[in-house]
Amino acid sequence: MKEWQRTVALVALLIIGAAVWYWLQQQYTLNFLQSL
């Protein structure tokens, strides 16, 4: 695997991880507030 391919893959993983993190928080907060 070339270095630039590795860079693209790692950046993609970071973006996906951050998106999952953000999505989890939104799910938690929205679900809690909506059911109050």
Binding site: E3, W4, R6, T7, L10, V11, L13, L14, G17, A18, V20, W21, L24, Q25, Q27, Y28, T29, L30, N31, F32, L33, S35, L36
Partner: protein, 193 residues
Amino acid sequence: MKKQRFSNRTWHQRLNDLLSLLVFLLALQLILGPFLPNVSFYAGQAITPAADNTTNQPNISDTPRLMIPKIKFNQEILEGSDASVLNNGVWRRPNTSQPDIGGNTVIVGHRFFQNQRGDFYHLDKLAVGDQIIVDWDKARYTYQVNAIKVVEPSAVAVEADTPVPQLTLYTCTPLWTASQRLVITADLIRTEP
């Protein structure tokens, strides 16, 4: 591929090393982050197993305050008509009673919020018989936990008024989700002065 010494690596390889580390740390945070406060909680208990008396204020607070000695919780109870109050602390549900009136006083709080420990993170550590103290309108109300249950978010009956004075605390469970509610109910056992 033969391993290179770090000093011999190109700037691109070093950048990829750094990105790999960031991916690893992000994954670690995602998986372990929600549980880390438990580690510090139980570690603290191992060092000081006795109940922490500093949680209890000797003087009755002028502002509404909720104190739970078992989990070293001591915070102002926030009032308001909008759920956004929860972003700043624990919230007495305005459609429920107050300690000085009797009936069911309901206080809610986040378990986990913005990737950090919420106000009620340790609510699951409470057990039947534990005490909860509420300072309200220059009086102190001491409650004793009588039941702990997990219900669906649709179980609005937990906020229904009761014929006897009762305190109800609830938050989300299990961690990382808002799929169910952890509900703690407590009977009034003492009023001061």
